[in-house]
């Protein structure tokens, strides 16, 4: 099990009234994503627990692209990963953020 954490400052805060969203399943090759409001001074914090070791660089590249697309702030995203590929990670994060923000990026 590896724990990774990233913080992206300068996003647009999402109203705290937005209720948390949980998407995905913790099956092999898949992941769970929890998106919730948090007072983070406009930042977006992403915390990952992953079954696979040594893929920090790829996580960072995937999450940077997602943040550049959405630019959400005051949001905490928790990821419980069972070895999902970047394709699945992107798909799930987009689905979760779309459900949480109630719109497309």
């Amino acid at each position: 099990m590896e724990r990774l954490s990233y913080e992206f400052p300068g996003g647009n805060p999402i109203p705290t009234a937005n209720s948390a969203v949980l998407i995905g399943v913790l099956g092999s090759g898949n992941l769970e994503v929890l998106v919730e409001s948090a007072s983070l001074g406009g930042a977006c914090r992403i915390e990952i627990e992953t079954a696979a070791f040594g893929f920090g660089r790829i996580w960072e590249a995937v999450l940077t692209d997602i943040f550049d697309q959405w630019r959400v702030g005051d949001v905490r995203i928790s990821i419980n990963d069972a070895g999902a590929t970047p394709a699945v990670v992107s798909l799930r994060l987009n689905q979760a953020l779309q459900a949480f923000a109630g719109k497309k990026p």
């Binding site: 590249a61 995937v62 590929t85 970047p86 394709a87 699945v88 992107s90 689905q95 497309k104």
Partner: protein, 545 residues
Amino acid sequence: MSRWNKLGVNRAARIERASHVAKGKIVDATRIGDLLEQVIEPGDRVCIEGNNQKQADFLADALAHLDPAKVHDLHIVQSVLALPEHLDVFERGVASRLDFSFSGPQAARLARLLSSGKLKIGAIHTYLELFGRYFTDLTPRVSLVCAQAADREGNLYTGGNTEDTPVIVEATAFRRGVVIVQANEIVDRVPRVDIPGDWVDFVVRSPRPHYIEPLFTRDPAQISEVQVLMAMMAIKGIYAEYGVRRLNHGIGFDTAAIELLLPTYGESLGLRGKIATHWALNPHPALIPAIEAGFVESVHSFGSELGMENYVRARPDVFFTGPDGSLRSNRALSQTAGLYGCDMFIGSTLQIDLAGNSSTATLGRIAGFGGAPNMGSDARGRRHATEPWLRAGREADAGGIPRGRKLVVQMVETFREHMEPAFVERLDAWELAESAGLELPPVMIYGDDVTHILTEEGIANLLLCRNDEEREQAIRGVAGYTPVGLARDKRMVGNLRDRGVIRRPEDIGVDPAIATRDLLAARSMKDLVRASGGLYDPPTRFRSW
């Protein structure tokens, strides 16, 4: 006479030697070893019918257990090595040389036997290429084939899995070779004659029915959302874009997802009758919902598929069937249909390099090619025009006299399981060729034949690339977070996207948010049975009920 008929004289001697083993053409299963020893001579070129699906397993086993002191140094020519017996002949010293096409299930053992010096490989072929050589320099002296049923005159009924039998028997029988058949049953009258009796020398009733592999069955329950997304991109960004009506699908979950999206997503785009109407394809269970929805006009098959017999029989307007009602397949002719009669091939792969060369070779496994390179290549001998073919030709803009192009699409997730990148700087095929002493790296589809690469990140249209640098960046631009993808020139990739060389899902109006399994016309094996009106009868291993 004998000066010009050495083959005939030799054949007569073989038949004469075997006459005490047979009653007419019929040989008892317990005498099979005697028969083979009388008929086969050391150094013979022997064809074992090993197909993609149907296997002459009883004869292969008997051949492998011959005494190497009597029968040795055989040259085996065979399209597919599927069973352990197919390699036992080399391990036991009965055979020493091999020309073949595909060895998927035995690929690792084949590589080990090769490195231990137990056999020499002449060449690894595509199916059509190997069949072509049966009629030139690799004509079998003795062929061991299989049939569903035979009568006492040797007339054969192959059932739905005719596959390679006509090609093998014709090459052997008409050059004074000997044809030996294992049949599941011997009957007074076969339901239809697939092979005429005077092309057949000996028939043995096999103690058990020949083995058939349900190779083309994919359980819809295992299709992922990423595969649904890629299937949506294929349908909207390629099938609809070019108006592809005549096509072949490679094997796998990626293309099964496309088949299952035709009656849902395809229908919602108004594409029924406009795409995917004529197929060179085995009877894929995953195609049932599209057939039932009226998408499909015709399907010609390389072989059959276990469990599809009754469904095929009930849909004679769609499938090629005999007067008896059962499927008639033919690998050589369906390969020809795929090569010359189709406008598109789409299939999965394992590795793609920066020039678009696509390979399924991995180290320590000599898996061969099968038929994909025949379908997945531009048919340079083609002369008839269709709209998709002309449009692809215009996009390639080679200058000079106008001509068309076959669409050859490679569909692949950027990472395979265990985070193996599908995009690489150098194919494993190079290392395999070096370690196995092959003359060529085994490339499934050459880069200059590939027209589109489709990943979850987008579609790269290689026809529109005007030089090697653009081609490389177009490939990097859909290679996702693989090292090859991360090393892209972002400015150039942006430029290629502006020109439509690279298209993202949003560029073609595909919304990843609706890419869920709910879009699949069948989500389980049971759904497929239901869609067939109960006619499809899946093999036990695919049943959970």
